[in-house]
Structures are given as C-alpha cells and as structure tokens.
C-alpha cells in the first residue's frame, strides 16, 4: 500500500510529531504525573532543575513541580485551543459562506458586523468578553472563539466569492445542479486550503491568547495550572529562577510551531494541483 501523502511532506510530518508528542503527554498526565501539580512544598521553593530531587524542570515559588504543572497545563491549553477554534471556525465559516454565496444585502450586513469585530485588537476583544462573561475555562473558549469568528467569516467568504466566478460553477448549474449541491460539491472543497491554513494558525494563536488571558489573570484561575498563568506567576521570580519562565515559554513556542508547520504542510498536501504530475 502506498504511504499516505501527508507522510511524504516533511514539514507536515514535523508538525505532526510535535503535536503527537503533546497529545501523548496529555494522555500520560491523566494517569501519572511526577508530582502532584498543585501540591505546595515549602521546603523546596524555587529549586533549580536537578535529577537528584526529581524536579527535572525545577520548582516554582510555592515549591510546586514545574514539569508536572506543564504536563497538567498542556491539556488545558490544547483543549481550549481546539474547542475555541472549532467554535469560531464553525460559526465564522457558516457566516462567510452564507454571505459569499447569497451576496447582496446579506453579504453587506454580515461583513459589516465582521468589520466591526475586526476593528478591535483581538486581545482587547477577548479581555472585554472575559470581563463580561466572568473568569472560567468555558468562557475562555467562548471569548477566543468569538475573536475568531470574523477571521473565518472573511476568509471563507473570500474563497467562496472567488470560486463562484469560476466557469465550473456555471457548468454545474447548466447541468441541473442546485444551490446546495454546488455549495457542498464544488465550492466548499475548493475553499478548504485557505480555511485549513487559517485553522492551524488559529490553533496556535488560541494557545497564545489563552496564555495572554491567563497571564493577565483573566483566564484559567490558579491553582489550576495553565501555561499562561504559570508565566504570570514566574514574572516575579524570573530573575532568580529563570526555569519557571523558560519551560512554560518553551512549551508554548513548540506547540505553536507544531500547529503552524502542520498547517503549512497540509496546504500543500490538500492541493491536488501540487500532486505529482504524471
């Protein structure tokens, strides 16, 4: 059997490996953690990473094990980023294809709403929504998701509109195809590449947004660990115990990178025009 095409693309594979690594970490963290992630240990405050103590990534200002907190926090980060992206993408794409396919007044109305949402910086918008909804995990998902709606709406609308003018849409119509057939058979599959790239980008930005919100104290509330609130806690002790900031930061960077690489690779894999020409 032939190798799936995604495995032939080095960039996508690298991204996939990174993401897989975190997924395994989440599964492991459910059953086993080196230390209890929220157990304070006053005797081992701000210990540097060492094999002897078993704190491989050191401890934070309350003596909690940094590695355990990163592992626990990874599930929070991934779940939030996936659900927020799914939420934003679903609503945004529906709005976008609606606007793009129907055109006219609907298009105008929907896209002006999107423009208004767009005019706020995304972090500010997320902070505003959090302030209104209150601080808990679900609200972080909703806040980040709402930030994404206009982005997905715009991208899917643009893709639909540019595809609509293709002659193959006309050809389908002349062959008796109805609206929904044209939308699902011809327009949506061809508009997937930009949307998939946007999804992978959004997954990574969601991690950053969640971290920023938690860093500002508006996201995941301590003692529940998230990479953002770990950084927030590390801010005070960063100069004397850099490991408290470096490792959560590293986790954020690698996972963001993983999603970006996957998105980049997927775009090439999904385009039949880039497949081997016989």
């Amino acid at each position: 059997m032939e190798k799936p095409r995604i495995l032939k693309n080095g960039i996508a594979v690298t991204g996939l490996v990174i993401i897989l690594f975190y997924i395994i970490m989440i599964i492991v963290s459910v059953f086993w953690l080196p230390f209890d992630s929220s157990a304070m240990d006053v005797k081992h405050v701000l210990e540097s990473p060492s094999f002897k103590t078993g704190h491989l990534f050191g401890t934070d200002e309350f003596g909690r094990d940094v590695l355990s907190r990163i592992m626990k926090g990874s599930s929070v980060s991934l779940i939030i980023s996936i659900s927020a992206t799914a939420f934003g993408a679903l609503i945004g794409i529906l709005m976008g294809i609606w606007a793009g396919f129907l055109g006219g007044r609907w298009d105008n109305f929907i896209m002006r709403i999107a423009d208004i949402m767009f005019s706020f910086p995304s972090l500010l918008l997320a902070i505003f929504i959090m302030a209104v909804l209150g601080e808990n995990t679900y609200n972080v998902i909703i806040a980040v998701g709402i930030v994404y709606i206009p982005q997905f709406a715009r991208i899917s609308r643009g893709a639909i509109i540019s595809l609509k003018s293709n002659e193959f849409v006309r050809a389908a119509r002349s062959n008796g195809a109805g609206d929904s057939y044209i939308l699902f058979r011809h327009l949506l599959p061809n508009s997937m590449p930009p949307i998939i790239v946007q999804i992978s980008l959004s997954l990574s930005v969601a991690i950053l947004l969640e971290s920023s919100l938690s860093f500002l104290g508006l996201g995941i509330q301590p003692p529940e660990p998230s990479w953002g609130n770990m950084l927030s806690g590390a801010r005070k002790v960063m100069m004397i115990a850099p490991w408290t900031a470096i490792y959560p930061g590293l986790a954020i960077v690698t996972l963001v990178l993983g999603f970006n690489l996957l998105g980049d690779g997927l775009r090439d894999v999904l385009d039949p025009r880039l497949r081997n020409v016989r």
């Binding site: 105008n108 002006r112 293709n166 002659e167 193959f168 006309r170 050809a171 389908a172 119509r173 002349s174 062959n175 008796g176 195809a177 057939y181 058979r185 011809h186 599959p189 061809n190 039949p272 025009r273 497949r275 020409v277 016989r278």
Partner: protein, 338 residues
C-alpha cells in the same frame, strides 16, 4: 414558433446589468446594456456563429439563452417553449437538451474532481433527481465511451484536470456537455484559449460530433476564420446588437455593414502576398462603453460612412434578401422608408 425546424428562437433579448455605487447603501448608478435587443433563430442541424469583439455581448447572449443569466426583457424559445415560463423542475429537464462548452478549459473544470467524475457529473445529478434512470454501472460505461469518442483514453478517468493539457481538458468539457445527449450545444469560444495545432484538433472533433450526433450549434467566437470554417450562418454583433446576419459564404464575400467590412479587413491573413496588396480599413477609436445612454446607430462614432441620419435614428435589422439581413441605413431602400 410553429415552425418545427426551428430549435432555438430568441426574440428581442435584453440583458442589462446594474452599475452599483456606494458602500453601505448600494445605489443604482446606471445600466450596462450588455445585450440590447437581440433576435435570431437557429434551425435544427445548423450552426449559427455569433461573432464580435470583446464586450459586444456575444457571451452574455449565450448565457442568457442557457438561462444562466437573467434576461431583462425578451424571450427565449426552445423547441417552441418559452424557457422563462418554466418552473425550476421543468427547466432542469429542459437543460438536458442544451449544454455548454466553455471557453476556459482551466476554470471550467473543478480541479478537485477526477476526469471520469467530471464527465459523469451531469448523469449523476439527473439520476439523483430521478429525472433519468441509469445505474452506476451504466454511468461508468457511458463515461468510458464518451471519453473514447472525444479522443481521451478511458484509462485517464482517474486523473485530475491539472494532469491534462489544455486541448485534453477541452475534450473533457466536450464529453461532459455530451453526456446528457443534448440537441443544442452552446459553444462559448471553445478554441480561443488553445494553441493553433490543438485548435484544429478540437474543431475537427466538434465537426465530426455534429454530423454523427445531429447536433445544432450556437458557436460564439471572436476569431472570424474559425467561425467561417465552423458555421453555416453568422451573426455579427456590435455593442449588444446584431448588425448583420448572412450565411457564412455570403458574409465573407459580400459584407454589407461597415463594421463587418472593417472586421474582416482587420483579420491578419496568413498569406503574405495578399496581406501586402489588400486594402485594410482601420477603424478609429475604441468600442464605446455599453453603459452610456445613446441614440442613433451603435456604430456611428467609428463608422467611415456615417450619415446625418445615423446620429438620430437607430437602424433596424432588415432583409436585403432572404438570407442576408443588415442593420444599416446605407441599404435602406426608399420603398421601405416610412
């Protein structure tokens, strides 16, 4: 309408597009008169060519005939039935009888569908709507035979459009148009995107198919030599109107309308000796915008034979003889004047 020989009858067709201005509240700032009162009929088995330069409305006419562009006014009769009066279900059934071959072999094929699926698509849609009954097995067989007939090896059915050359893609488009067994083919510049050596392959294919399957063609093109070769009758369009129709020999030997004459003399001849000796009519200026409000003859600004009358009155298409109609005051016999 009563004439059973006439397959397609177009009466005073107009397609006007609104020009919209404004961002929030869109206002209508005028109309583009893409097609402005076009009438013609196509007999069974003949091929009528619509020629003209870009923006003359020839493609829009074809799209309005195919009911893919809404007509502002006028009627399209197919086999005596007014297409605008049909319900969407009846129109879908009627569509089986007129199919389109598109200009651009790149954008007219969905890049994510395989050649076999592209050709089978119309059959599957109609089978899915229970308009025709055909088994999946028969669809496959039919697709293979269509590919074979259009000069494509059926073993290419699994390939994607980008794996084919321009000429091969156009063959896919033709096979798709034939799949439902149409009576009329609307060919919208089917060869203008192709290289010369490929162009002749496709023209030969279309000609063979016409004889074999008894097809009727409405053939849109800007290349006069191609139209002359392919069509038995030609209508010349300018600025949304037909200015002259005749059978193709007559039109090339005795062009009457000043525009037709200029158009014919502007075609570069692939024959250096006659190119050197012939006299060319070089028209001045460009085609005026189809959005301008105007009176008089559409060709008056560029016409070398313009008269006073042309500026106030628009000439109508009238018979020179049975087979030759022209819309020009130069040939207005006094007896016809009112």
């Amino acid at each position: 309408m009563g004439n059973p020989d006439i397959l397609l009858d177009v009466k005073d067709l107009k397609v006007h597009f609104p020009i919209e201005k404004g961002i929030l509240l869109k206002k209508n700032a005028g109309w583009i008169r893409a097609v402005d009162g076009v009438s013609f009929s196509v007999r069974k088995g003949e091929s009528l060519g619509l020629v003209g330069e870009s923006g003359c409305g020839k493609s829009t006419t074809a799209m309005a005939v195919a009911q893919l562009e809404a007509a502002t006014a006028g009627k399209v009769f197919f086999e005596g039935r007014d297409l605008s009066l049909l319900s969407s279900e009846e129109l879908r059934r009627a569509r089986m009888n007129f199919q389109i071959v598109f200009q651009d072999p790149y954008s007219s094929l969905n890049p994510r569908m395989r050649a076999g699926d592209l050709i089978a698509e119309p059959l599957r849609i109609y089978a899915g709507k229970k308009i025709i009954s055909i088994s999946e097995n028969d669809i496959q067989k039919k697709t293979a035979s269509l590919m074979d007939r259009c000069g494509l090896s059926p073993s290419f059915a699994d390939r994607y459009p980008h794996e084919f050359s321009g000429g091969q893609r156009q063959r896919i488009g033709i096979a798709r148009a034939l799949s439902l067994g149409p009576k009329l083919i609307l060919a919208d510049e089917p060869v203008s995107a192709l290289d010369v050596s490929i162009q002749s392959q496709i023209l030969n294919l279309l000609k063979d198919l016409q004889q074999e399957l008894d097809l009727t063609f409405l053939f849109i093109a800007h290349d006069l030599a191609v139209v002359e070769y392919f069509c038995s009758r030609i209508a010349v369009m300018y600025l949304g109107q037909i200015v002259e129709t005749a059978d193709s020999q007559t039109l090339y030997q005795q062009p009457m309308h000043p525009y037709t004459r200029a158009l014919l003399s502007a075609v570069p001849l692939p024959d250096p000796k006659s190119a050197r000796t012939r006299k060319r009519i070089i028209l001045k200026g460009d085609v005026p915008s189809p959005s301008a409000v105007r009176s008089g003859c559409p060709f008056m600004e560029r016409c070398p034979d313009v008269m006073e009358r042309c500026r106030v009155e628009a000439p109508v298409l009238s018979d020179l003889n049975e087979k030759h109609q022209v819309a020009c005051f130069l040939y207005d016999s006094p007896s016809k004047q009112i």
